[in-house]
């Protein structure tokens, strides 16, 4: 599939998944009544899975668009956008640190378990996603008054988001392998 078409398609899929399905999942972690509430966030995956050689300014603009789209559905003004822009800005640096060669040398490839291997891919996703969650939830609580609750919220949603991202990635790489055979 054409790389542009594929990413536009992925943009829509991830946005709809986030807005219609995942925003309805408000679970208690450690089910005691004082447990923090959280939403898994899967939409940063759109930026994470863009091709290796995407220039930073394109990442930034796409991140801003994706963030604004999520914001307009969730009544959060610019919070998702602000967090996602930071993720987009740092993506190339993280890839530089993790890959043996310069990211621009990987032509027509995108970050995936197949292209990077399990542990680099998990570190790549996990680090950037954790950063995104820290920024987003700090912005959301607008201060560090209840830092314990904030940390718990970050940790719980980070873990569930990672689970959902892994599920998404596994589902879609399966399909790829099946297609190539």
């Amino acid at each position: 599939m054409n790389v542009y078409l594929k990413n536009i398609f992925r943009f829509c899929i991830l946005l709809m998944l986030q807005v219609i399905v995942l925003n309805k999942i408000t679970l208690h972690w450690f089910t005691s009544p004082s447990g923090a509430l959280f939403n898994p966030l899967i939409y940063p995956l759109f930026i994470l899975l863009l091709p290796f050689e995407t220039p930073v300014w394109v990442l930034l603009i796409l991140g801003f668009l994706m963030g604004l789209a999520v914001d307009s559905f969730m009544n959060t003004a610019g919070m998702h956008a602000a967090a996602l822009i930071l993720l987009a800005y740092l993506r190339t640096n993280v890839l530089n640190a993790l890959l043996p060669r310069n990211p621009t040398e990987y032509v027509n490839m995108e970050p995936s378990v197949k292209n990077m291997g399990w542990s680099p891919f998990l570190v790549f996703c996990g680090f950037l996603l954790l950063l995104h969650h820290i920024v987003f939830f700090s912005l959301e609580s607008w201060g560090f008054n209840s830092i314990g609750a904030l940390m718990l919220k970050i940790a719980t949603s980070f873990i569930t988001s990672m689970v959902f991202i892994l599920i998404y990635v596994l589902l879609f790489t399966r399909q790829h392998v099946a297609k190539s055979h």
């Binding site: 930034l60 956008a81 602000a82």
Partner: protein, 287 residues
């Protein structure tokens, strides 16, 4: 000039990053003021349409439970109608609700008259710092900013933003946007807040020690503050903690409305609000 362009080219990514961050921070800052949210809020057209399609789908799946809540609501209304029929206004000195009456021999004090408008909830949040509920009624149906919203069970919130066909309601699960004046069984009143963590807990802080309260008591709104109609159920007391140092009590409430599955709400239009505001505003303006 050439150097300037070179610097811009070299740090283009950083500049773009800073610019976009500033734009989003400005958006956040704007939304925290009173107006501002109209650009990005779920009452804007596209999001409203998508949410409407989504709820049209879920609407059919939830018909059963919706029916039950309507039935219980009808039952409650019938009870009130019966109670109003049997009120003897000559003996009963105070009248709680407005009674439109033609009979001039009975002296009825009409101090508020409410128009109830039903609305369907098409989007509902419970886990944010400020939780908004989107309803499928807007300016065209007579909804205006500041109207109070109740459900069949109790208080829900206040209309915050309105578009032509949709409106956003800021529920009582909010942080420092507005407070609800609440009345205990013995008449003590105090504002109640949300504890900002769970959608099942409201807090009344700093209650004086002499206020008599016990677990299971109902808490109602008062008409102070000119926001909500009086005597709407807010919730029931779940626990009372006493601060040993100051002797003051902290009361935890369970909201009467279940915010997790809200489906129908009533928007209340107080027809005497303008008159009341005109009376109270000059006194508010004085320093």
């Amino acid at each position: 000039m050439r150097n300037f362009i070179l610097i811009i080219r070299r740090f283009f990514n950083l500049i773009l990053f800073a610019l976009l961050e500033i734009v989003s921070i400005v958006l956040i800052a704007r939304s925290r003021t009173i107006q501002g949210d109209d650009i990005i809020s779920s009452s804007n057209a596209v999001a409203g349409i998508v949410y409407k399609k989504k709820t049209d789908l879920f609407y059919y799946m939830n018909l059963g439970s919706m029916n039950d809540s309507l039935l219980s609501e009808n039952m409650r209304l019938r009870k009130i109608v019966d109670a109003l029929h049997s009120v003897d206004t000559l003996k009963d000195f105070t009248v709680q609700r407005a009674l439109p009456t033609k009979d001039t021999s009975v002296h009825v004090v009409q101090y508020a008259s409410y128009v109830y408008r039903t609305a369907r909830v098409i989007d509902n949040q419970v886990d944010n710092v400020n939780n908004y509920i989107t309803i499928n009624r807007g300016l065209k149906d007579g909804i205006a900013k500041g109207m109070s919203v109740i459900s069949g069970n109790g208080l829900v919130g206040r209309v915050e933003y309105v578009s032509q066909h949709f409106a956003s309601v800021l529920s009582i699960l909010n942080t420092n946007k507005y407070q609800v004046s609440a009345r205990l069984k013995d008449g003590t009143f105090k504002s109640t807040n949300w504890d900002n963590e769970r959608p099942d807990v409201l807090v009344m802080k700093e209650m004086p020690a002499e206020a008599k309260v016990k677990k299971g008591d109902s808490v109602f709104t008062t008409s102070y503050g000119n926001t909500f109609p009086p005597d709407v159920l807010i919730g029931t007391v779940t626990s009372v903690e006493i601060n040993k140092k100051s002797g003051r009590q902290q009361i935890m409430l369970k909201p009467a409305t279940n915010f997790r599955n809200l489906q129908y709400v009533y928007v209340l239009d107080n027809q005497m609000e303008v008159e009341r505001k005109q009376l109270t505003e000059p006194s508010n303006k004085k320093p």
